[in-house]
């Protein structure tokens, strides 16, 4: 790695003692010698293991659940169903006033994705819990499912989630989050070329080294200590408090060293049910995802579809951009309404375009609920935007790097969401990339700056 101090030297003071120093990480020796303690290193006498009975169907009504054989299985201590969960229907962003509550801790009457948790089994060993889970009998009436976002948005599509009432998230702005800036149709009308293209991604896995999990210990003072690898301590504690209808003062969360998160450990899935198990049995409980659960049950990054329509001039200026983004939330909201909205704030990318129209949709389908992941709401948008930029450059016969200089945002430029640009540095990154990759661009672009006089 090289630090190029020649850029922005006029706005930066390099007179610090500790900041900017490549100090060795104090936790590295523990990590590389196996001495660092992770949540799963905790073990308590009498600790129970929790395993989930999961839906084999993408969408089904639950006619009945028979746990009698599972309860008789040697080593089984407790079997939990929806009726055991004090506040079973929840949504995690309720803490920042984003509702409605639309998901169940344990399925109640219906399952909406293959893998959804239906019954929790607590047993003396992992094996006993697994074997007993296989003995739970659930009678399902399979319902039509919908997997494709376009199909889900059509009238008459199977309804994925009754708590929403339609297969998209309803924002205060309507069926999508909207950004309107300038007159996009007038921009298209005056453009030399129009290019409309569609981009698609598939769900991906966070793939942390350490799978999602927690270990809960009931304390002598009526409190519960939860050792967890959550990425957000109080967010998880406060949501657990709501789901279990238990005062937050009864909960003590301990975490802090996590084997990779990437956004996959902010969904508040394992802690509430494990604490409930500890409360109802009076014993410590361990609930850890297997690698298969981490990959197919834990939320992935959403699949997204992005449609971009651009109007561009022969000289390289983009004069109008319309973006329609679709985020596949799967069966439940989790963080997806936030992610889709974040996309609306990100488009049209780091470029100054006078006419912009953005619609971003959060769509429900019968698949594993997606949620936050590194680059949430932006990564797939950037893929679409930057491939589109390449296509536009080739369409008008410009060098793709030079084309980006023509449109790059600079200090003071008004963004589509009506904030003036501050602290821009796209031009300087491209200038340095031009040098490092030996990709020459015209001298006028190498002479550009993100600064503007008076800005």
């Amino acid at each position: 790695m090289e630090l190029r101090k020649n850029y922005f030297a006029d706005v930066r003071k390099d007179d610090l003692h500790e900041i900017g120093q490549p100090r060795p990480r104090s936790d590295s020796p523990g990590h590389v010698t196996g001495k660092t303690a992770f949540f799963a290193d905790r073990s308590f006498p009498g600790m129970l293991h929790l395993k989930m009975v999961r839906s084999p169907h993408h969408h089904a009504r639950i006619r009945s659940i028979d746990t009698s054989q599972a309860e008789k299985h040697p080593g089984v201590v407790k079997v939990l169903t929806a009726k055991d969960v004090p506040h079973n229907v929840y949504t995690i962003l309720i803490l920042i006033q984003i509702g409605p509550e639309d998901e169940t801790v344990l399925a109640d009457g219906k399952v909406r994705w293959k893998g959804e948790a239906v019954v929790a089994v607590l047993a003396e060993t992992e094996r006993a819990a697994q074997e007993a889970a296989a003995k739970v009998k659930v009678d399902y009436e399979v319902l039509p499912a919908v997997f494709d976002m376009e199909e889900a948005l059509k009238p008459g599509a199977p309804l994925v989630n009754e708590y929403h009432g339609q297969n998209y998230y309803l924002y205060d702005s309507g069926e999508c989050r909207k950004v309107r800036f300038g007159d996009v149709e007038a921009g298209f009308a005056g453009a030399d070329h129009i290019l409309e293209q569609s981009y698609q991604s598939s769900p991906i896995e966070h793939a942390p080294t350490e799978t999602t999990g927690c270990v809960v210990a009931p304390e002598g003072n009526d409190r519960f200590t939860c050792y967890t690898n959550t990425q957000a301590m109080f967010f998880t504690l406060d949501n657990t408090s709501i789901i279990l209808q238990m005062p937050g003062s009864k909960l003590h969360f301990v975490g802090g060293t996590v084997g990779g998160g990437f956004g996959g450990k902010v969904d508040v899935i394992v802690e509430p049910i494990a604490i409930l198990g500890a409360k109802l049995t009076g014993r410590p409980v361990c609930f850890v995802y297997s690698r298969e659960e981490e990959m197919q049950i834990s939320s992935p990054r959403a699949a997204e579809k992005v449609v971009i329509k651009d109007g561009v001039m022969k000289d390289g200026r983009i004069v109008a951009r319309k973006v329609t983004g679709y985020t596949d939330a799967g069966a439940y909201s989790r963080h997806s309404p936030y992610g889709a909205q974040k996309g609306a704030g990100h488009y049209p990318g780091p470029y100054t375009i006078p006419n912009v129209w953005i619609d971003t949709y959060c769509v429900y389908t019968n698949r594993t609920p997606s949620s936050a992941m590194r680059g949430f709401g932006v990564t797939i948008g950037d893929f679409a935007l930057e491939v589109q930029m390449d296509k536009l450059a080739r369409l008008i016969g410009m060098d793709p790097l030079e084309f980006r200089f023509v449109n790059a945002y600079r200090d003071g430029d008004m963004k589509a969401h009506r904030q003036p640009t501050e602290g821009a540095a796209l031009i300087e990154c491209m200038q340095e990339a031009s040098r490092a990759a030996n990709w020459p661009v015209a001298e006028k672009y190498m002479a550009m700056s993100s600064y503007r006089k008076g800005a």
Binding site: L16, R23, F234, G261, Q296, G345, M389, L426, E428
Partner: protein
């Protein structure tokens, strides 16, 4: 049939912190009797090295070496509230909270030192080595060790501070979408060079040259580890990864690392990282959040390089050999 070479570019920006704000983080700082400093947080270290960075920020602000700072984090019985570690927010939000708490503690420390030295607190400075000196008369000094002892046992002062950082929540305007998603943005430009085997559809990423603008590299070695890892993750996202290979079909999802593909050591591209620093107005010592954005530009850069190599556009991720071969076949048919 041949191995064809191509290169592609992508340029991006990325917001720091929870979108639309409203994501507070607090920190507490106090000194021990012998002048070491404890930072108390509830923030989570995901392996990115948050504890180390908070220690360096606290040390810089108080004016002591980093090894005199201990960070205690992620215990809800002791640490004040933090929204969490996500959205490239940890360093920016918690760092600002630590600076505020450390400034308050430093002020008390200087006041106690001023009483001991019989000067004004405003006439004192730290040397970064554990001593407090009178400005312009450095021979008149006192160690922070002695100041902390005095505060604890003689003068009855608590060398401590409270820090809170909050960017107020922005609510998007319904019709226009006017909003403030973020207060600062990191930037990047990546050039990727690939080889594509037009017989098998396999892509080899030969080099990635990444330029990242991150506000301030608070610890350059740790910046490097995050940016190199992110660059690898971007390539993996572009070419390998998915839990649903035939999305929207739900079948064939991988359940372990034999089925869920990622590039291994033999597939690593030659990776170059260049860092620029334009300090952000509201970042701790100018830092922005590069944690997420460093994995983004490689994806379109690789996609554009594949087109440059073989003349077909793969607009669906991941860019698998199957998709490339189908596109080449369609191209040949036309």
């Amino acid at each position: 049939m041949a191995i064809r070479r191509g290169r592609g570019v992508a340029a991006i920006n990325y917001p720091t912190g929870m979108n639309l704000g409203g994501d507070p983080t607090q920190a507490l700082v106090h000194s021990t009797p012998t002048g070491n400093f404890m930072v108390t947080l509830s923030s989570v270290d995901l392996g990115q090295g948050m504890k180390q960075i908070m220690a360096q920020i606290c040390a810089e602000t108080i004016g002591v070496p980093t090894d005199r700072v201990v960070v205690d984090t992620a215990d809800t019985d002791t640490g004040p509230h933090c929204m969490g570690t996500f959205a490239s927010r940890g360093t920016h939000r918690a760092g600002n909270a630590v600076i505020q708490a450390a400034r308050e503690a430093r002020q008390v420390m200087l006041e106690v030192a001023a009483e001991e030295l019989e000067v004004n607190a405003s006439d004192l400075e730290t040397d970064g080595q554990g001593n407090i000196l009178v400005k312009g008369a450095p021979q008149k000094s006192i160690s922070i060790f002695d100041v902390a002892l005095s505060a604890h046992f003689k003068r009855g002062r608590s060398i401590s501070g409270r820090g809170m950082f909050l960017i107020p929540r922005s609510y998007p305007e319904k019709e226009t979408g006017a909003m403030k998603p973020s207060t600062c943005y990191a930037h990047a430009c990546t050039v990727a060079e690939v080889e594509v085997d037009d017989e098998t559809g396999e892509v080899t990423v030969l080099t990635v040259k990444n330029v990242f603008e991150i506000g301030r590299a608070l610890n350059p070695k740790m910046v490097e580890q995050q940016l190199v890892g992110g660059s690898w993750m971007g390539i993996s996202h572009a070419l390998y990864e998915t839990t649903e290979p035939y999305y929207p079909n739900r079948d064939h999802g991988g359940t372990d690392f034999n089925q869920y593909l990622m590039p291994g050591p033999g597939d690593l591209a030659e990776t170059e990282i260049i860092v620029l620093e334009r300090p952000s107005a509201d970042g701790p010592y100018g830092a922005k959040g590069p944690g997420e954005m460093c994995a983004n530009p490689q994806i379109p850069a690789v996609a554009n390089a594949v087109f440059d190599a073989v003349g077909v556009r793969i607009d669906t991720l991941p860019i698998t050999p199957e998709r490339i071969l189908r596109a080449l076949k369609a191209q040949a048919a036309n």
